[in-house]
């Protein structure tokens, strides 16, 4: 790894200024993606701006409507949060399934969605729950945030400060994990939302395509009947899905259906147990 200058500012404005002062600067969250990338020489920044000195970026706030999570909050903190588990158990479960404990102790929500790896877990929750990504400049809806593989709506120097997840009566995530890395070969987040007031059920798929995507046919069927049976005959065509050493596109297409059914089943169970909010 080539050497770089290191700055750890204590405010958003100072972080932006520190980045702008660099010819080729990057922000550092937990380093769980960017450090391996730099060790391989795939990124050679002249300056690294560590966001961990900015106090407001680590926080979890839960009201009766929204779970708000600061960008620098680790996956471990989300998985362990009693408040999040009560309000959106599917989100706490998802965080606890990311990678391994060491990765969860360093990796962050903001880093995960800024990186937008096609196999990352959080993008599925952000999209299915219709979350809002808040930055130092604006608010970005989930539908606009994830643009393409490793590409988001973030502009140069823009910093994610938090993500607001609206609370919904039942939501759950199911993933078929790569047995080595635990990244999603296919992962499906299903969120039941009121069809009249909240735009209805949302189904988001990660790991299977170049970027997280919704499945409108499943969403429409689930609005009528929120049960695994409702989507039995709906499939996502293999065309355009990822085809790699881990799984063929056909296999991923099949996995989407299986993971969606599991997520629906879990969502209904948590709701019946009263584990979900309301």
């Amino acid at each position: 790894m080539q050497d770089f200058s290191f700055k750890k500012p204590d405010s958003l404005d100072a972080a932006v200024a520190a980045l702008e002062a660099q010819e080729d600067g990057i922000y550092l969250a937990g380093g769980q993606t960017i450090l391996p990338v730099m060790k391989f020489g795939l990124a050679e920044p002249t300056g690294v701006v560590d966001l961990s000195g900015i106090a407001d970026l680590v926080k979890i706030e839960v009201t009766d409507k929204v779970v708000s999570i600061g960008a620098m909050t680790t996956h471990a903190a989300v998985a362990a949060s009693v408040d999040i588990r009560r309000a959106l158990p599917g989100l706490a479960d998802l965080a606890g399934l990311i990678g391994d404990p060491q990765v969860r102790n360093r990796g962050t929500l903001g880093g995960s969605i800024a990186n937008n790896d096609p196999s990352a877990d959080y993008p599925a929750a952000v999209l299915a729950l219709n979350a809002t990504v808040v930055t130092n400049r604006r608010e970005i809806t989930a539908d606009d945030f994830f643009v393409d593989m490793f590409e988001t709506a973030l502009e140069d120097g823009e910093i994610i400060t938090r993500v607001d997840f609206p609370i919904t009566d039942c939501a759950a995530y199911a993933k078929f994990a790569n047995p080595a890395s635990r990244y999603a070969v296919a992962g499906v987040f299903v969120a039941k939302r009121n069809a009249k007031t909240d735009g209805g059920v949302r189904v988001a798929v990660t790991g299977a395509g170049p970027v997280v995507f919704r499945v409108p046919d499943m969403e429409a069927a689930l609005d009528g009947d929120f049960s695994p049976d409702a989507i039995k005959n709906i499939s996502v065509p293999a065309d355009g899905l990822n085809n790699d050493i881990h799984a063929s596109a056909e296999y991923r297409s099949h996995l989407i259906g299986v993971m969606a059914e599991r997520a629906i089943k879990t969502a209904k169970e948590t709701n019946n147990k009263g584990g979900g909010a309301q």
């Binding site: 770089f4 290191f6 550092l28 769980q32 060790k39 560590d50 990678g99 404990p101 990765v103």
Partner: protein
Amino acid sequence: MPKITLTVNNEPVTRDVEARTLLSELIREELKLTGTHIGCDTSQCGACTVQVNGQPVKSCSMLAVQANGADVLTIEGHGDGETLTPLQNALHEHHGLQCGFCTPGMVLTADALLRDNPDPSEEDIRHELEGNICRCTGYQNIVEAVLAAAKTMRG
């Protein structure tokens, strides 16, 4: 060069380091604490696991500057070096190691696990040890050792 101050195994450490220095490099090459092993150097194997503020992390995937101000525990700081800790003893009793390369990382991950969850199920242990790869034992005896250590420590 950035100056960093941290605690390693309860000893204060102050060093000028290049920003690119990994925590694993500081520990092994500067401090000569070579019980922290480098298996893959690509964040996959967990052999380099140390505890930072009580939490297991992969020291090959953290910069030394990110540990500025932190409390770091390496395998040399686990126990007193004279008598085996319940965890070390259980690994010995249950034949939880063969070559021993993964063991320092396993011990530090399992130690943190037992602090958070003194009565883990077999499933809890397997889930929490997912980031530590062992190429020798097939994990069975490691899991049994952690279960046994938990029992001993609960008294």
